[in-house]
């Protein structure tokens, strides 16, 4: 009976992971295909990578996307941390309900609605005050910060509510003012959460297609917009090559993060055993 159940769970896991990973593996395999027609194998080749690196369009889009992602992640982490602190540690304040609503709504809001409403807003603003003169990097960055900050705030909120307040209370008992407690105790303890938030905001921005295509201007194509305009018309071997590079970069990043996480977990366990003995 027990064995039967574990066989069932094992096959569920195998099926689940295969479902998640086979499409990506196929994407990688076909990036080394010589043939111009993606699904027809024509021998091993790296020519699509060469073609990709030659393309100035791809480089420009990548640079723009990275610039937006870095600025977005930094501002979103700042604003999101403030929002998270306000919601968890400040008790009740006026407008708290609206505030917490505005923090959680962007997480589930369909992108087409956020994109359309921001575009209409930018156009109305331009008619009223003349800013933004033209849409492009600035408008995309503002749009990205708006939804990324919500994700950061959620991470910070969950870290804060999972964090024991004993250190903060001890500092307060020893006479530290709340402001000092915040800077000397709370924020250093929050650093891992803020880093996680920064990384998430960075990838969210790099990944966004729909919102950016609403608020972009002429000539401000981010990488997802460029990819989309190409794959809309069908399969493209150079996009497979680009996808492989992106997947490889992410995999390396996640592996490093995972290794650190497992090591910390083991260390924590060892510490607990030490303390117990």
């Amino acid at each position: 009976m027990k064995k039967q159940r574990s066989t069932f769970l094992f096959s569920v896991l195998c099926f689940g992971m295969a479902f998640l990973y086979i499409p990506m593996v196929m994407l990688v395999i076909y990036s080394f295909n010589y043939s111009k027609i993606v699904p027809v194998w024509g021998g091993f080749s790296t020519r699509w990578y060469a073609k990709l690196f030659e393309s100035e369009e791809v480089w420009n889009a990548l640079t723009l996307s990275l610039q937006i992602a870095v600025i977005n992640a930094t501002f979103a982490t700042l604003l999101g941390t403030m929002a998270g602190l306000a919601l968890v540690r400040f008790g009740r304040f006026r407008g708290r309900t609206i505030f917490s609503g505005m923090i959680s709504a962007p997480l589930v809001m369909p992108e087409v609605i956020t994109g359309l409403s921001l575009l209409m807003f930018f156009i109305a603003l331009q008619q009223l005050v003349g800013w933004p003169e033209k849409r492009g990097m600035t408008t995309i960055t503002i749009a990205h910060i708006t939804f990324s900050l919500a994700y950061v705030a959620v991470i910070i909120q969950s870290r804060l509510s999972g964090m024991s307040q004993s250190l903060e209370e001890a500092a307060q008992d020893l006479g530290a003012k709340p402001f000092r407690v915040m800077f000397d105790i709370t924020l250093p303890l929050l650093t891992p959460g803020m880093m996680a938030g920064w990384l998430l905001a960075f990838t969210l921005s790099l990944d966004d297609l729909v919102i950016a295509s609403f608020v972009k201007g002429p000539g401000s194509d981010t990488l997802p917009i460029l990819i989309y305009s190409r794959v809309r018309l069908g399969l493209r071997p150079d996009i497979n090559a680009l996808a492989t590079i992106i997947i490889a970069t992410v995999a390396v990043g996640v592996l490093i993060a995972g290794w650190i996480m497992i090591r910390q977990y083991k260390k924590q366990k060892a510490d607990q055993q030490m303390a117990a003995s």
Binding site: F121, L149, P178
Partner: protein
């Protein structure tokens, strides 16, 4: 040798210097006191104002445009407020755009199709995701961390490229057709891409981590001894599942389902890339009204209609989340 006088002087000096330091620290203290009073409001105000301006205000503008008149101009809609000679603002509300949506069967059809597709996809995600989350929980510690990372990893890779990957698998000359022909199940390629089937596969594939993770988080907190208690008391595994496990994991099921259902209803990329011209979903219609037809009032009306369909699920999600936060 210290004379009493010198001793006294030193004393005076030391008190003097300490009082200077005292004044200095009093000033900084005053400064910090000022910050202490105000900093909390500043920390709240900055993100608050940002969201009011860039999140809430845009919705009112969309609402305004949805009740404006479509014009061939730039921007292509009429002004809602008109200054009359007496200086009184007359508000012109035109529900043409909404009437247009209701009268045209195409829109109603698209609306219902979107909700049907996202509901069925959510159900498939739940049926697949639940056993996966459960199997991850039941794995030994180290394996569990690796499996969890494997579920999270697709989150960090491009959403667009994961949809694109299925274009290669489902194409007429694609991997699945090749495999089926090789196995002798079919003689010639069947149409997989640009169909409802492809859209379902795409949604389930890209959204299933959103189902697995809340379920996992919920099951992690679960008291597994309850199972043993139920088993010890003679409950069959099936009845243990339905009377103990399922009710306890209900918050996870609700959170996961809403996280799939809400964004899937407004999905644009998947129906466009995998559904082609054969599948029409509301997100795609909105984008086309705006991008190809330049009918902004209708696009805005579609956005408001979509929002109306999702307001109830969104409020349930918010309620579940805030309850989770308290416990």
């Amino acid at each position: 040798m210290m004379t009493p006088d010198a001793d006294n002087k030193a004393n005076i000096q030391s008190t003097h210097s300490s009082s200077v330091a005292g004044v200095g620290s009093r000033i900084t203290e005053l400064f910090f006191n000022k910050i202490h009073e105000k900093w909390r409001s500043i920390v709240v105000a900055i993100p608050f104002i940002w969201l009011l301006v860039f999140f809430l205000a845009p919705f009112f503008i969309v609402f305004k445009i949805s009740i404006a008149e479509s014009l061939i101009a730039s921007p292509p809609f009429s002004s809602l407020f008109d200054w009359t000679e007496e200086g009184v603002i007359t508000v012109r509300v035109i529900f043409d755009s909404f009437l247009y949506l209701v009268e045209d069967e195409l829109y109603l059809d698209t609306y219902l199709t979107s909700i049907r597709i996202s509901s069925i996809s959510t159900l498939i995600c739940l049926l697949l995701g639940y056993p996966i989350a459960y199997a991850i929980i039941k794995s030994p510690d180290t394996t569990r961390h690796i499996l969890l990372l494997m579920v999270i990893l697709p989150f960090w890779t491009s959403f667009l490229l994961r949809v694109y990957a299925w274009m290669g698998l489902l194409a007429d000359q694609g991997t699945i057709n090749d495999l089926l022909i090789w196995l002798g199940i079919i003689d010639k390629p069947i149409r997989l891409l640009y169909s409802h089937f492809a859209v379902y596969v795409g949604i389930v594939y890209t959204y299933i981590p959103f189902m697995i993770l809340p379920l996992y988080a919920n099951m992690e907190k679960l008291d597994m001894t309850l199972h043993e208690a139920a088993a010890d008391l003679g409950a069959k595994p099936m009845s243990t599942f339905f009377t103990v496990t399922l009710p306890l994991t209900l918050p996870g099921i609700i959170a996961g389902s809403l996280l799939v259902f809400i964004p899937a209803t407004g999905e644009y990329v998947i129906p466009d890339l995998l559904g082609g011209g054969n599948v029409s979903m509301i997100g795609k219609v909105l984008y086309n009204e705006f991008n190809a037809n330049h009918d902004w009032p209708v696009a805005s009306a579609v956005a408001i209609a979509l929002l109306l369909a999702l307001v109830v699920p969104m409020m349930i999600y918010q309620h579940v989340q805030s309850k989770e936060g308290v416990s």
